[in-house]
Structures are given as structure tokens and as C-alpha cells.
């Protein structure tokens, strides 16, 4: 049964002009709505944190714990946060590049996939379990090393000592953070390493370069900005990581570069996790204010990382 009406030509079906128009509008409305909702959610995070932090921001300085005002309360925490994250990134990036290179260029093709699953698995393990492992296994295991460092390299401020006998040190926290962010950095690097144009790589090998020379001349320059971007994503994660640090670090609160003693600055995130459950009144607002600072720091780092990735995409096209 054919109809002359342009709106339907399917047998057994009368023309229903515009019904799909309504469906289309509802569906695309839902899609746009979800997008807008996400933007609103992100804005909400900033706004609600600000509202709840406001009493702390406007409070007089002697009401803040420590009695010296909000800035002097948060500053040592921010220092600890940056110290731990920096340590983690310094340890993680070379490892991550090696791991990425191993999977993309050294490991046999057949096992490369499985190996990258194993690396991804590192990222899937809950941070609290890293914390437990850090305090139960890694900390004690590193005690001989830290003692040796304190004895022999004690003139360097980082290893001033006295070495902690429990291993609850900034160094151990940094190593655990490094393990946690390694998969993030290596995933970004690996992706770009594997995308290095075959032609470039083969022409290098054809000129008689060894594998390492080829990697140094072609792959590493090609993947440089990916490593930078991945490192910044990892840095963002390390800055905000909470539970591993909360469990591992024994905190005294001061500002020190000493990585191996049992007197450590806390981090913003760990401080919140430790104090929040027992806090009330203005203390809660103070903790939220510190969270707002953490939010701002990580936001800035992440936005920078995304900008680097975007620029690199533009360069490629």
C-alpha cells in the first residue's frame, strides 16, 4: 500500500507527521540537560565549598586552630601536599616512561596487552589498601635504607634524620604515591609512544640506528609533551590523594624538608580525613576552606595539563 503523502510510505502505517519530532526534542533535551547538569555540578562543587568555607574565611584569626589565622593554618599543609606530590612525581615519571617504553617498544607484541593490563591494575587498587601496604610492608622494608641515608648522606637536608624506626615517613608516602600515579603517567605516555609514525621509526632503523638510538631520536621527541601532560595529570592525582598518606604519615605539623624522620608535615587531604570525623563548629569550616584550596590547586594543575594535551593535538593535526 503506497501513499502519495510524503510523510509515510510504510505499509500498514498511517502518516504520523512530526511524531519523531517530539521524540527528537525530548531525547536531545535529555542529552543537553545531562551536559548542563554536569557543568552545574562542577559549579556546585565550587559554590557549596565556598559557602561552607566562608565562616572560616571571615573568622578572626584567633578562632582558627593554631590561633594564627587561616593562612598560617593552611600554609604548612599546602607545603606538605606539594612536597609529597613533588617527591611522587620525581620518582614516578622516569619509571612511568620506562614502563611505557617497555610496553610500546621492548616487550614482545603478544604480551604487551597483558602487561598493560597489569599496569592498569595498579591504578584500580583502592588507595586505602596502598596505605595499609605502605605501613605494613614498604615502610619497614625501607627502614634500613633510610638509616643508611641518615648515616651517610645526612648532610643533605632531605636525609637529615634521625631516621624513623617505623617507616612512617614522607619518603614512604612519596614512594606509595609514586606507585599510585605511575599508571596514569605511563598510560598517557604509552598511547603517544605507540602512535609514533612507523615511517619515522623505520627510516631511523634503516639508517642503522640501534633500537635505543631510534627511540632517543624519534620516539622520545615525539612523546615529550605527552610525558609532560601525563606527569601533570599524575601530579594532580598525587596532590589530592588522601587515604594512603593519612595512614602512612606520622604527622607533627611543622614545615621541614626532612624526608626520613618521624616528624612530618601533613597534607591538606590527609589532614581533612584525620580531623573531620572528630570536628565540630568552626573547625569544620576551616577544614572545608583547606579543601577549597586543594580544589583550586588541583583544578589549576589539571587545566594546565589539558591545555598541554590540547596544544599537542593541534600540533599533530
Amino acid at each position: 500500500m503506497k501513499q502519495t503523502s510524503p510523510t509515510a510510505s510504510v505499509p500498514g502505517e498511517p502518516a504520523k507527521p512530526g511524531t519523531h519530532g517530539v521524540g527528537d526534542r525530548i531525547f536531545s533535551g535529555l542529552a543537553i540537560g545531562s551536559g548542563v547538569f554536569i557543568l552545574a555540578l562542577l559549579a556546585g562543587v565550587a559554590i557549596f565549598l565556598l559557602i561552607e568555607a566562608w565562616p572560616a574565611i571571615t573568622a578572626s584569626s584567633d578562632e582558627i586552630p593554631g590561633g594564627d589565622g587561616l593562612v598560617s593554618y593552611i600554609a604548612p599543609l599546602a607545603f606538605g601536599t606539594v612536597l609529597a606530590a613533588t617527591l611522587a612525581i620525581i620518582l614516578a615519571v622516569p619509571m612511568a616512561v620506562a614502563v611505557a617504553l617497555f610496553i610500546s617498544h621492548f616487550a614482545p607484541r603478544r604480551v604487551a596487552d597483558t602487561l598493560s593490563y597489569l599496569v592498569d591494575l595498579l591504578a584500580a587498587i583502592p588507595s586505602i589498601i596502598y596505605g595499609l601496604w605502605g605501613i605494613a610492608v614498604l615502610g619497614p622494608a625501607l627502614v634500613p635504607l633510610t638509616e643508611w641515608l641518615a648515616d651517610n648522606l645526612g648532610f643533605i637536608p632531605f636525609f637529615e634524620g634521625p631516621a624513623s624506626t617505623t617507616g612512617r615517613t614522607m619518603l614512604v608516602a612519596g614512594v606509595v604515591l609514586a606507585v599510585m600515579i605511575l599508571p596514569i603517567v605511563s598510560a598517557v605516555a604509552r598511547e603517544v609512544f605507540t602512535q609514533t609514525p612507523r615511517g619515522l621509526q623505520e627510516s631511523a632503523l634503516a639508517l642503522g640506528a640501534t633500537r635505543w638510538e631510534m627511540i632517543r631520536m624519534v620516539v622520545l621527541p615525539f612523546g615529550k609533551s605527552a610525558v609532560v601532560a601525563g606527569s601533570m595529570l599524575g601530579l594532580g592525582r598525587a596532590l589530592g590523594e588522601t587515604m594512603a598518606v593519612t595512614i602512612i604519615l606520622s604527622v607533627s605539623g611543622g614545615v621541614t624538608f626532612n624526608l626520613i624522620s618521624s616528624d612530618n608535615p601533613s597534607t591538606i587531604a590527609a589532614n581533612i580525613a584525620l580531623d573531620f570525623p572528630e570536628s565540630s563548629g568552626l573547625d569544620i569550616n576551616v577544614l572545608i576552606a583547606s579543601g577549597l584550596v586543594l580544589f583550586a590547586i588541583t583544578l589549576a594543575v589539571n587545566m594546565l595539563a589539558r591545555a598541554v594535551i590540547e596544544r599537542q593535538k593541534l600540533d599533530e593535526s
Partner: protein, 280 residues
């Protein structure tokens, strides 16, 4: 392979063969087709006759696909793409503002270069996809009848009747393409557009589809883009030749005529060069 050139194609069914009268005519007037600011096809005016096979030939990049896709408003799905001029389906402008592009596509079906059955659907569901995706409610046996008819029409029924519930992507390339034709005909469009439907197929499967086209024209108006001269000569009644000046210039319709005439005695030198160049 040169035999077909030397030997003019026997005359196809003459104008008297208009059988069912449900197929529709398309009148294209002054059609300009753009990708953004780039004019890809310029100033096409042509009539596409009902119950005939119209073949479009021409060198690569001259805008055949672009033109074809503008006949059922698929062109405008590409971001920035636009069209000027008119395309009348039995006198009604498919580009008029009151016309719904979705219903235009329901009347003017399309078969693509590479077979693209829906990978999540069985052979049966693929054939009935046009109905099912539009949530037509109908009785199971009515649906069965439509599916069987479409698959028989696509010369596929005997090969797949025992595995209707198997995934459509499990068929061979030629079978998949016939499945796609069955899918397009199951919704009973008035016009069927085919963009190089055989280019991914071997010669046997190609011949099977050409036979099918010959039969389908009893019910549909067919427009087919092809790079294969023999195919145009064998399977079409009317042939249109597109050409392009230099790269960057828009493609234009050089000549449209009875297929015999285009291949034996074209009016334009360019057409003759192209046709004979390919053959000789």
C-alpha cells in the same frame, strides 16, 4: 572486456514498460550543492524517470556521491553542508520547508558502497530494521511476510532462510550487500539510490546484484552510481555523465541520455573520451 564497447548494448525496455506506476519521478532543477563554502556540484538539471535505472558515471571526485546524497537529503547530515535549487519528487519539492527530511528518506531509500548491516541485529531484524527502528507495531506473521518478501526480492531468501536469527554481520560480503538491499526495500520506498553498490564485491556477486537491479526497477525508480562502465551499460536504461574541470572546480552534469546513446554515440566529446577511454 572490450567486447562490450564494440558491441553496443542491446536496447533496454522501452518507455512502454511502465508497469506498476508506484515508482516516482524526480525532477532536479538548478541544483547547487555545497560543503561549507565549497561548491561541489553546480547547476544540475535533470529528470530521473520512474521504473527506470539511471546510472551516474564520471571520474572520481566529480560529485556523483554528493549529488546522489542530495536526492534524499542525506547530504545535509554533514556539518556545514547545504543545497540550493529544487528537487521535486512527483512534483513536490523535498527541500520545501514544510517537508520533513526523515519522511523524505523514508520514501527515497539508499544502499551504500560498503555493506553495513547493523552488527547487533540478526538477519531477520536487519531486514525488518526500517519497521522496527520506527517502532511499527504489527503482527508477527505480517512482519514475517514482509521480511520474506524483501529477502526473496533481494535473491537472498534461499541462502538465509535457515539462519534468520544469526547476526547479519556473519554473512559474506555479497550476501551482506543483498541484505542491505532487502533492508532498504522492506520499507517500500518509491526510489532507491545506490552508491557503487558492487565496488566491494567479486564479479559473481556483482552479477547477482545487477540481476536484482533489473528486477527491482519493476517497483522502484533506481539511481545507481558506478565506476564500472560495463555495469552502467548492462544494468541501466539512462546514463548521466558528470565531469569536473580542474580540481577545486565544481562537478557538472555533462550529458544525460539513453544508455545506448551515451555509450555508442554521445553528444559531447568529453563523454566520448571518458567512455571510450575506459573501454579501450
Amino acid at each position: 572486456m572490450t567486447a562490450a564497447a564494440a558491441d553496443p548494448v542491446p536496447a533496454k525496455n522501452g518507455p512502454t514498460v511502465r508497469t506498476t506506476g508506484v515508482a516516482k519521478r524526480i525532477d532536479v532543477a538548478d541544483l547547487n550543492i555545497y560543503y561549507g563554502a565549497f561548491l561541489a556540484v553546480k547547476d544540475v538539471t535533470m529528470r530521473i524517470q520512474p521504473n527506470k535505472v539511471t546510472a551516474l558515471i564520471g571520474s572520481s571526485g566529480c560529485g556523483k556521491s554528493t549529488f546522489l546524497r542530495s536526492l534524499n537529503r542525506m547530504h545535509e547530515l554533514i556539518p556545514g553542508a547545504s543545497v540550493e535549487g529544487s528537487v521535486l519528487l512527483d512534483g513536490r519539492d523535498i527541500y520545501s520547508p514544510s517537508m520533513d527530511p526523515v519522511s523524505v528518506r523514508r520514501q527515497i531509500g539508499m544502499v551504500f558502497q560498503s555493506p553495513n548491516p547493523f552488527p547487533t541485529m540478526s538477519v531477520y531484524d536487519n531486514t525488518a530494521a526500517g519497521l522496527k527502528l520506527n517502532s511499527k507495531r504489527m503482527k508477527r506473521d505480517q512482519m514475517d511476510a514482509i521480511v520474506e518478501k524483501a529477502l526473496r526480492g533481494a535473491h537472498l531468501w534461499d541462502e538465509v532462510k535457515d539462519r534468520l536469527d544469526k547476526p547479519g554481520s556473519g554473512l559474506s560480503g555479497g550476501q551482506q550487500q543483498r541484505l542491505c538491499i532487502a533492508r532498504a526495500t522492506a520499507v517500500e520506498p518509491d526510489v532507491l539510490l545506490m552508491d557503487e553498490p558492487c565496488s566491494a564485491l567479486d564479479p559473481i556477486a556483482t552479477l547477482a546484484i545487477e540481476d536484482l537491479i533489473e528486477e527491482l526497477k519493476q517497483k522502484f525508480t533506481i539511481v545507481i552510481v558506478t565506476h564500472n562502465m560495463q555495469q552502467a551499460a548492462r544494468a541501466s536504461d539512462i546514463t548521466g555523465f558528470f565531469n569536473i574541470g580542474q580540481s577545486g572546480d565544481p562537478g557538472i552534469l555533462i550529458e544525460l541520455d539513453e544508455t545506448d546513446k551515451i555509450f555508442s554515440n554521445p553528444a559531447h566529446k568529453e563523454t566520448e573520451d571518458y567512455v571510450s577511454g575506459r573501454f579501450g
